[in-house]
């Protein structure tokens, strides 16, 4: 049998990984995730990447069978399985002495919601995976429903009067797993974002990056102005402003629900452990407390040079 039997397997005649994201991809104009992928393409240099994308806009990004718009091998997993599928891939790479960097590229739905258990499991096991969550604060691929990453007050297609609940503190959750590296990055700071991506690519163990990714289609915002709306993006705006505006639009000009003022965190967060694979003993010292962010409700991560 010479036929390819792996379902929906496509191959492209372009051995170089540059650019990582290619023409013909399925993303919308102004998609923040596209920009983040271009950053990853810059950050990866000649590192060997394998990417796992769970059900999300990322599955559309790669384009329809039998083509691929990505410069590296990609496997599309079921919605809640990015971290578990990546576990199998990175373990086999390790068994074979390969330096492959396995990257999960998941949206907020696949991270904060349906993928939370497998994400937590892989982080607890300190699997050698870089997990990137591009967070557009909605289920973008299904047309803009609320997720647990949607900030309070934001109007979505299934919370038309505004979401009542607060956004989950994903960095708090991930840092509680005491993983080697967790950071937020902003598309408005390319150099900082790429530096953090390189650092995360080179470390071993479970690493987590959070990217706030504007979604003009879902946010009903201007595609050209996505990055300006980000903290530090020059627009003086914050994602909440987008959501408030969107809420007004969706509700025919009515006022959006008030958003409680949230302190803007000072820095992207990361902390390290002594060496990969090392675990604090059960009766050992308590994990380091984060001191770099104020407490209370946080709905947005702002990144700056550290």
């Amino acid at each position: 049998m010479s036929e390819s039997v792996l379902t929906a397997l496509a191959e492209i005649n372009c051995p170089a990984a540059d650019p990582l994201l290619r023409p013909g991809n399925g993303n919308c104009g102004g998609c923040g995730m596209s920009t983040a992928l271009q950053f990853l393409g810059r950050a990866m240099d000649d590192r060997r990447l394998q990417i796992v994308i769970p059900a999300s806009c990322g599955a559309i990004t790669v384009g329809p069978f039998p083509y691929s718009a990505m410069g590296v091998p990609v496997i599309l997993s079921t919605f809640g399985s990015a971290a578990s599928v990546a576990t199998g891939m990175s373990q086999v790479a390790r068994l074979n002495g390969e330096g492959t960097r396995v990257v999960c590229w998941a949206g907020d739905g696949g991270t904060y919601d349906i993928g939370m258990a497998s994400l937590s499991g892989a982080a607890e096991r300190n699997e050698d995976i870089l997990y990137v969550c591009y967070d557009n604060e909605i289920y973008g691929n299904t047309g803009g429903q609320r997720s647990s990453a949607t900030p309070a007050g934001a109007a979505t297609t299934n919370t038309p009067r505004g979401k009542v609940e607060q956004k989950k503190d994903i960095l708090g959750i991930m840092s509680a797993h005491r993983i080697p590296y967790a950071a937020t990055l902003s598309l408005a700071h390319p150099q900082d974002a790429i530096r953090k991506m390189r650092r995360a690519l080179d470390l071993h163990g479970f690493r987590f990056l959070h990217v706030l990714a504007p979604c003009p289609t879902g946010w009903k915002s201007e595609p050209a102005l996505g990055i300006r709306a980000l903290p530090g993006g020059g627009g003086g705006g914050r994602a909440q402003a987008h959501h408030q505006r969107r809420a007004r639009l969706l509700r025919g000009g009515a006022r959006a629900l008030p958003v409680a003022p949230a302190p803007v965190p000072e820095v992207g967060h990361h902390h390290r452990r002594p060496a990969p694979g090392h675990r604090a003993p059960l009766a050992g010292p308590a994990p380091a407390q984060r001191t770099d962010r104020p407490g209370g409700a946080r709905t947005l991560k702002q990144s700056r040079r550290t």
Partner: protein, 387 residues
């Protein structure tokens, strides 16, 4: 080769470990496992095995166990997992994904009743729920068959003409926890029987997408390929039987196994361990001059329609026993087999041993008497075997 007194769970784990080690010159062995009664002892023993170039990931759910198998298998490693009942139900999404990705994963199910209410005893409903999932399904009747089937499963799954996952089924406690003398082959023999896996189109450094977005026509083509691969199982399985017999000196069972069926006035069809009980009942009936015969269905997917039709030829009274119930219909095996008999033959369905009820030869004899007395088949009968 040495005989050991072990349970079917341990036989399965030893089979998986032997197969895993046999891929040490390939890309190794990687398994994701999660405990659930009654398959737990299988994963426990696997976690205690030394497997060169192998790793067992203790994940946080059955869903992730199959996720690990998908990632490892797509990377070219040999993979294995085991589960039961609601664990299989929870794993189901990724089980379907493994099949549709054409990944040669092998899984052993310790068949257990689905809950709630919670019942740990034997019932085939958990794996029959996966009837349409695209997995090959084998149902075993003893511990030796479980171990041998695991080894055969890898040969079948990894054959380029097939490239499909295989589910080896053994019933809760009746096999999973019952110890029996089992021949455990040596590693050198298994190395010869199971060459290293060379998965075509595995994920490596080449830019490609596995599991991308498709349109209706592409899906039609993929389903046709999958269906054709299922159709090639009979031919490949015969080769696997030959290879196994040449190496280990015993022949794995055929897809359909008749027992004193040639001249039977009444034929009793079943799967798994109930078939062993049927054999005992057949012997008892024959001593009394009643011409009873048995038929065990070992391969449920692909479904052995031709083999069953041949075995049914000339038989006028056929009882199909199901240790499962497709609610709102009847027994699953009966539903698939009832159209294969000669015109005018009575094919009566009986659901017995549901929820682990203890099926005894007396039950089988009563069923034989019932079907012999029928002029025509009626609605499927739900019999209480109790415990």
């Amino acid at each position: 080769m040495a005989g050991q007194l072990i349970s079917a769970n341990h036989a399965a784990a030893l089979g998986a470990a032997l197969a895993g080690r046999a891929n040490r010159t390939g890309r190794g062995f990687c398994s994701g496992v999660y405990p659930i009664t009654p398959s737990t002892e299988c994963m426990e023993l696997l976690c205690n095995q030394e497997i060169e170039k192998g790793h067992v990931v203790r994940v946080e759910s059955e869903h992730s166990a199959m996720g690990v198998c998908i990632g490892a298998s797509a990377s070219g490693a040999r993979t294995f997992t085991t589960s039961s009942s609601n664990g299989i139900a929870y794993m189901a999404e990724n089980l379907v994904a493994a099949a549709l990705l054409r990944l040669p994963v092998v899984m052993v199910a310790a068949n257990r009743t689905l809950g709630p209410p919670w019942n740990v005893w034997a019932d085939h409903g958990d794996t029959l729920m996966l009837r349409d999932s695209g997995w090959i399904q084998l149902y075993c009747a003893d511990n030796q068959e479980v171990l041998d089937s695991v080894l055969c499963a890898y040969r079948l799954a990894e054959d380029r003409r097939i490239q499909l996952p295989v589910l080896v089924c053994q019933e809760a406690f009746v096999l999973s926890h019952t110890m029996a003398q089992t021949e455990v082959p040596g590693q050198e023999q298994v190395d010869r029987f199971l060459p290293p896996l060379d998965l075509p189109d595995r994920i490596d450094g080449t830019p490609r997408v596995i599991g991308g977005v498709t349109v209706p026509h592409a899906t039609e083509v993929h389903r046709a390929q999958h269906q054709e691969a299922m159709g090639r199982v009979w031919e490949v399985y015969r080769e696997v039987q030959d290879g196994f017999e040449a190496e280990f000196g015993r022949r794995p069972a055929d897809p359909v196994i008749p027992y004193r069926a040639d001249d039977a006035d009444v034929l009793v069809v079943s799967m798994g361990t109930i078939a062993s009980t049927v054999e005992r009942a057949v012997d008892e009936a024959r001593e009394k001059g009643i011409r009873l015969g048995g038929l065990r269905v070992r391969t449920f997917r692909p479904f052995p329609s031709e083999q069953l039709a041949a075995a049914f030829r000339g038989r006028r009274r056929i009882a199909v026993l199901d240790r499962n119930i497709s609610l709102g219909f009847g027994g699953v095996l009966w539903g698939e087999a009832r159209g294969l008999a000669d015109p005018g033959a009575v094919v009566q369905g009986y659901m017995i041993g549901i929820g682990g009820g203890d099926v005894r030869p007396g039950h089988v004899l009563a069923i034989a008497e019932d079907v012999a007395s029928r002029a025509a088949a009626g609605a499927p009968v739900l019999m209480e075997a109790g415990a």
